[in-house]
Structure formats: structure tokens, C-alpha cells
């Protein structure tokens, strides 16, 4: 892999950094459904379904605006870096039964 490609990849976010965590969106599920990460970690969601999903923070009857992204189809990604400790619940706004949770722990725990 040459330096130019690496620089381009870093600019476009193609390469996940070592501190990334990943969530796969497949068969109308967030996999893993719940993950635990340290503060500062970037989470990358990747849609593997042939349909649009969303990654929307909160719950269907109480969105909280922390993040809300469409994953248009297979291969679509969304990333978000969690800078504060806490538990972040999220769901798909097109399929409300799809739920997930990110537990963000302070560094050093």
C-alpha cells in the first residue's frame, strides 16, 4: 500500500483506525446489539442489507438528536466518535424494532 493511497484513505475515512469499533447492520439487526467502548472511540456502522436503514440516537418515542444518519443501502457507512461516557441507545427509524446500544466508559476503566 503506497503512501498516496494511505493519505487518500485517511482523508476519506476508508480505513478504520485502531480505536474504531464496528457495528454491522445485517438481516435487520445491529450486530453486535450492544457494545462497550472507551471514550474517544469511533464507531462505524456498515449496512449489509439491500434496504435503507437509519442509525438514530434515542428511542422511537424519544429521539435525542445526538446522531441520526441514513444508511442508504449495502456498503453505506456512518461513523460517530463518542467523546463522553454514558450509555447511548439507538434504533432504526424505518424499522423501530431494530435497537442497539453503545456503552461508553471513561478511559482507564
Amino acid at each position: 500500500m503506497n503512501a498516496t493511497w494511505l493519505a487518500l484513505a485517511a482523508l476519506t475515512g476508508v480505513i478504520e483506525s485502531p480505536s474504531d469499533a464496528t457495528v454491522e447492520v445485517r438481516t435487520f439487526q445491529f450486530r453486535d446489539k450492544a457494545i462497550e467502548i472507551p471514550v474517544g472511540t469511533r464507531v462505524v456502522w456498515t449496512n449489509q442489507d439491500q434496504i435503507e436503514h437509519t442509525v438514530t440516537s434515542g428511542a422511537p418515542d424519544s429521539t435525542n438528536g445526538v446522531f441520526n444518519a441514513k444508511l442508504a443501502g449495502p456498503g453505506a457507512t456512518f461513523s460517530f466518535t463518542f467523546t463522553k461516557a454514558g450509555t447511548y441507545r439507538y434504533f432504526c427509524d424505518r424499522h423501530h424494532f431494530m435497537r442497539g446500544e453503545i456503552r461508553v466508559t471513561p478511559r482507564g476503566e
Binding site: R26, T27, F28, Q29, R31, Q48, D49, Q50, I51, F97
Partner: protein, 219 residues
Amino acid sequence: MQPTRSLRLGIAVVAACLGLISPAMAQGTMEHEHSMATTTSSDLRVGLNSLLKEHVYLAAATTGAALGGRQDEFKSAAGALDANSVALSQAIGSVYGGDAGTAFLALWRKHIGFFVDYTTGVAKKDKKAQEKAVQDLIGYASDFAAFLNSANPNLPVSVVTDLVKAHVVGLKAAVDAQGQKDYATAYAKTREAAAHMQMIADPLASAIAKQFPEKFAMK
């Protein structure tokens, strides 16, 4: 509520085929109605056909009772319809995992909810509500196809979408006839809709058998 004899049979066949219960347990459940010595792709096909056809008959029984104002019958039919949905989800879950089964059940119940909306629109002669429900059902067809395709790439999205749309159109015709108290047509359309489920059950069974050849012997 006690499931019907044929529903028990369908659940037992699919459950045994997909490894939910042992053949011996299935035999007990079916009261020795059917031998389950081996798990074959044909057993799988028969089981899925049984459950999916039953879905249509129970759905029509539910909408018919609702439109006829028979509240007690409606509750019982809706309960049996949901038991059928759960059995289908257990079958899917036994192949693709419990979480996939749970997602399937939520998705499957969604289309039943849209049919409830449609039936309510027919009862109230509310054309807008009917149109909205039809649009929701058409949108659902794509979602359902995407789910199956994600679980099993042998099931093309466009093909499954068209098959589910045909299911929607077929059952809608039965509900329309029920609403007009044209019972001869209602039953004819219900039978057509039930027969059409083979168009979904057969390719679904084939695709699962193809995906898991070690689990489903081709016979």
C-alpha cells in the same frame, strides 16, 4: 388459545425440519400423525407450505370476523394468526439464529398490522386509509424481500418483492369481497391467496436447503 390441529402439524414439521425439536418430540407433538425419521428438503418445503398457507386462512378468518362484527371470533382468530406468526419466526430463528427470528417476527407482524389498517379502512369505507395501508404493504414487500435476501442470498430481492406484492394483492381481494359481503368471491379469493403461498414457500425452502445442504438432504 389452542392452536388448530393443522397449525400444530405445521409447527411440528417445520420445527423438526429446522432442528428446533427432535423427530421424536415432533412425533409426540403431532400425535403420531406424521413420521419424521429424516430431515429432508421436501419435509422443509411441506412444513413451510403448511405454515404459510395457514397464515392466509387465519388472516382471512381474522379479517372476516372483524368485518362481520364478530368480536369473540375475531380475538380467537387473531390469536391463532399470531401463533402462526410465532411458529414461522421460530422456524426462521432455528436456521438463522434467535435474533434473526425475533427480527423476522417484528417484520412479519408489521404486515399483519398493515392488513388490520386496510380492513379497518374497508369497514369504515375510508378510501384514504385503504390507500395508505396498500402503500405501506407495498413498501413492506421490499423490506421483507431485503430481509430474506440478507439471510439467504439465493433469494433475489426483486423476485421476493414481486411475490410478496402478489400475496398482498391476493389477500386484499379477499378482504374487499368480505367487505362487500360477497362470500362466494371471498372464499374463492382466499383459496387463490392460499395457493399462491406455494410460490413463496417452495423457493424459500429450496434456497434454505441450498444454503445448508448438510442440514437438509435433497430428496
